[in-house]
Amino acid sequence: MRVSRSEPGFVVSLIAHAGLFLAAVVLFGSAEKFEDAPEMIPIDVVSDSELNSVTKGEKTAKEVKPSPRVDRVADKTDLPPEPPLNAANKDVPAPPPQAPRRPEPGSDNSPEPPKPPKRAAAPPPAQEPSPVDKKAPRPTQDKPAPPPLEKAANAEDKPEPEDAEVVKPKPPARPKIDSAQDKPLEPPKPPKPPKPRLRADDIAKLLEKRKELEKAKEKPDAEAADAPAQDSRPKSGDESAPKSKFDLASIANLLSREAPQRRAATGQQVSPASLGAAEGAAQKLSASMESRIAAYIHDHYHPCWVSTLSLGGVAYAPVVEFRLSREGELEGRPRLINGSANPVERARGEQALQAVRRCSPMKIPADFIPYYEEALRDITIRFRDER
């Protein structure tokens, strides 16, 4: 290609581009790096009920042996057979032995017996009158009043805080999940492989021994033997490379074993809910279940109210509070909380009290029992008059 002096455009363009390229290399190379993006903090909105449910259990749940808490099923293909390197286990903190956050009642493995106070094993009835009955204390021998005393009993039976702390290598999963989620943007550091140099040295020693053996077998090839000693990685296609215990698969195994520890919500099988701890909240009462229970109560007491005498013209709606035992028996006296001095309204209020007494006991269906504390122990009914 000939360059015409009369047409220097090509040369000029070439020079200009080259200069521009050089300038870019020089100038941008010394430019300050962009700062890393500031760490983002994910925020989960946790409702009060969710927080409570963290410690909730099911009263009727099957008793399970403690196992690491697992919330979701792990990918099976990621789990190789048991890692060959048992020694690696020493380097990795073992998963805590107790999966449940709280000692399970009746569990043989529970570390300390902060006995979960069983509700059925009600405390002595005479210790404290129920709030409802304060005004009219019942003879204590009449009926024990287990439910009202439960709280007090629970408070007494509750494990000492110190004890609880002792137990507290606690839930393996949740705290760690939390801490992991606090810093999600950090590059997921691969778990440090258990110091390959040491492994390499060990292997080198083994290889040296082998070398000596080979030398003894009159196959002295020192150079060939030295190279694998320095680099543990067997060269591709090098069939003569000694089979080392250290390989990538073992690291992968280590990683896979570490993962459930760090994020213990993953495992082979979803853990069933544990038995409810006494000091935890009761089983969560859903809105639909609450409505079912309310409808059941309504249907039970409705006949006794409809069968009262309504003379009409009374806007007053007596509101009656009462307490039921787990067996559905009326405990103490039903109480009219909006009593009236008006004789007609007073009579209507007494009819409401009678309606409660006449329709008691109320058989509590088995599927409502878990919600006894929340929805069935203390009942308030407003008896309206539709006439």
């Binding site: 903090i41 946790v46 009060d48 109560i297 109210w305 004789p343 009914i381 008059d385």
Partner: protein
Amino acid sequence: MICPITRRAAAGLLAGAAFAPFAPARAGRIIDVKGGGFQPVNIAVAPFVGDDAARTVTSVTLNNFKRSVFLKPLEAPTSMAPPDTTPDLPALKGLDAQFVLTGRSLRAADGRLKTEFRLFDVTTGEQVAGQQYVTESANMRRVAHLISDAVFSRITGEKGFFDTRIVFVDESGAKDKRRKRLAMMDQDGANVRYLTRGDELVVTPRFSPSSLDVTYMAFTAEGEPKVLLMNIENGQHEVVGNFPGMTFSPRFSPDGQKVIMSLSEGSNTNLYAMDLRTRTTTRLTDTAAIDTAPSYSPDGSQITFESDRGGSQQIYVMGAHGGAAKRISFGGGRYSTPVWSPKGDYIAFTKQNGGNFAIGVMKTDGSGERILTEGFHNEGPTWAPNGLFLMFFRESGGGGGPKIYMVDVFGRSESLVPTPGFASDPAWGPLQD
């Protein structure tokens, strides 16, 4: 010990703390049970212990409860509810009794009878009422009425009505030659007493709130109408006033100080109020129509009456001092004889529609009309002092005469009030002192 609080936990705690004051308390949930049926209250009545007087008390009380509609008496043996000890609650619950009445009547040293009763709530076993009466044996029926009232008002909260009297027009003789006498009886038809001799035709008697006076209309032998006032204790008569033209439908004001009536002048009839102390008369309406059958509201502030000023007989309401009147009846047919309930909630009326006469009630604004009974001829409703019952008279046609019936304000039960002969124009008196 280090107690790390993660941000998640902190957020949860914060959320819990923030919303805690607004979180609905589970225990505070109120379940609404609507209803309010009309089931009579079951009351077991054990025979009163004692002699004949005790038996009278028992039978009168049982009869009262049966007629009351709102109470359903169940006869229980004395062994179930002895007068001195707590009743046998399980047995009474087996009878489905909600209350049990026990009592006895014993003769005291002075010959008088001491009658006492106790009312127990069967669901609790507690005594909820109990009283004692000492009286002559001749008054045992009244004692039974007093006991019935005490029980009725304790259970329903409403005033009783058993210890009351009815003034009515007793009719005897052939239909074309009827003798009409003013008579008085207990609300259950007992103790009939005649107040006039029957030489004058008497109609529309009305009780005074004081219960001692009755106002009524009498037609002299010459056919001249007059409004009279009669003291039922001493039988004294007094002419309220002689007015030119015809006078109709006298009725007392709630305070007993005035009588309101209608006076006809030519083709018009208007309402007048007369002060019984000063004998002055005040004209309340002035229309070219027939305004009649006035009745005061219980607070004395309003008057309801019937008028054909709109073309047909309808019910109107106006202030007690006259002025603009508001029509409240709009159903088909003609409405007449409105009577304001002593409770103030309803106005009873007679309604004529086609060939039928019905007795009904409506709210004071005309809404909620409810027919309690209807038939060939029903007329003249009068309220019990508690506003829960009405009496009226019915003529069944044929050759018979009128009889007095009682119905509750809901029209659930109707019963004949026994009278010696035919009876009409009942007027229910107040509770006795």
